[in-house]
């Protein structure tokens, strides 16, 4: 049947339902498992091959040698403003030293704080 206002019954039914939106900063938003969020780096596993550094599409990650340590140790310097969270470094790492976490709340007002050692 063709008529106007075909969506009105549905809209009325919506009046008694809970809102579909959540009050985000006050209510925590959930992300699924294996979400590609901020990177996590394991110093124990890294052998310093720098594959991640070479494959990164935006040049956001750099592996640097740590001074004053007995064994050869490395740290990862990530430019969070350039990282596109593609997770290619995680896929490329032969020792699984890199990992994506579920952390997505990474906004900052100061650009200097976006260069992080992990």
């Amino acid at each position: 049947m063709k008529s106007a206002g075909r969506m009105i019954p549905y809209l009325i039914s919506m009046l008694v339902k809970k809102p579909d939106t959540v009050l985000y900063p006050y209510v925590h938003a959930n992300v699924p498992e294996h979400f590609r969020g901020a990177l996590k780096f394991d110093q124990e596993k890294c052998v310093g091959c720098k594959l991640c550094q070479r494959i990164c599409p935006t040049g956001a990650i750099a592996i640097e040698k740590l001074e004053n340590t007995e064994e050869k140790r490395f740290k990862a310097v990530v430019l969070m403003d350039q990282c596109i969270f593609c997770g290619q470094c995680v896929d490329s790492c032969p020792r699984k030293a890199l990992e994506n976490t579920e952390n997505f709340e990474l906004a900052s007002l100061d650009r200097k704080t976006l260069k992080v050692d992990i």
Partner: protein, 405 residues
Amino acid sequence: MGKIEIPLGPQHPALEEPESFNLLLQGERVAAATVALGYNHRGMEKACESRTYIQNIYLLERICGICSHSHSTCYVQTVEQIAGVRVPERALYIRTLIGELERIHSHLLWLGIAGHEIGFMTLFMCSWKDREVVMDILEMLTGNRVNYGMNTIGGVRRDITPEQAEEVLKALDVLEERTKYYTKVATEEVTIISRLSGVGKLSNEDGLRLGAVGPVLRASGVARDVRKDDPYAAYANLDFKVATDEHADVFGRTVVRVLELMESYKICRQVLKEMPDGSISVKVPGKVPAGEAMSRYEAPRGEDLHYVKANGTDMPERVKVRAPTLANLAAITHMIEGGYLADVPIVIAAIDPCFSCTDRMVKVTDLKTGGEKKFDWDGLRRYSIDFYAKRGVDFRNTSIGKEER
């Protein structure tokens, strides 16, 4: 009656994307229309030449925020063709699944946009609410809502577990029910029918002559679909119909998209049922042998085309992208001409345009003389350095000015 020329755009003529149209008006009717491309050129094709094949997947994925999987699949298909890689069956099925889920989210998005353009905000709010269901599914399967990053050269990066498949099937049931409701709304609500019928007519012959693609052409009654005509991924093994409609106007395009949604649910269910076991990717060396290839993909907006020329190194020599919107631009001017000015936004929106994907050039108009000029890269660089030098900002002694001079 005198004629006046007015610009439409470049700021958001229909959707939130920049493109400029010049309309010659006679009264309220559009006598002539031209598209002025070149407002949002991003130089991605050039950028591809200085990145490796793997890095290019992520760059090309960002051509479009909505059909990101389309562009990356089309590109990896091309590279796989050059390298002569046989992609595992399971990977092809996963690509198909993500591609169809993407089509579902894109068409639901379009339905909302169409409602927004004609002032039917209820439809906009409701279809975008339901779109969240498929967005969540995509996020669960791939790890991101928009840029899925599912493809890699030689297969896909993530497998689908039985639990995830179960979740997808549940979501498909919800979406199918909602789409049936929207089909009813679209075909029975008189405000939609009378607003969209007869607007932006594109006849069968004109559609073919102007090279329209995707739902725009299918709404003119031409059953042309790359998934059927030149099957890629797993489409050759799947049973589905190509949705067409005879209305040949914006209303027809709405019907085609809603029907395509129903076909997509069918395809997704088949994919999940028939998905073979096995590995999801094969290892491909970083260096791709010299050669060239072209690949086609049915993006939600129509036929997407990628061309790659390899020269034996780990970076391509040339990458060419023909986004579906570029193919539909000639049809847009034809559809606008003769119609009312008030219909222009919805006619433009009806091709589901993606202008940023389409832009391939920069045009400089001299405001004093009105002359237009084309620049090559070095010319544009020189021009900009001189332009600022005249205004007191001298780049000539800095590293920017010295380079290539």
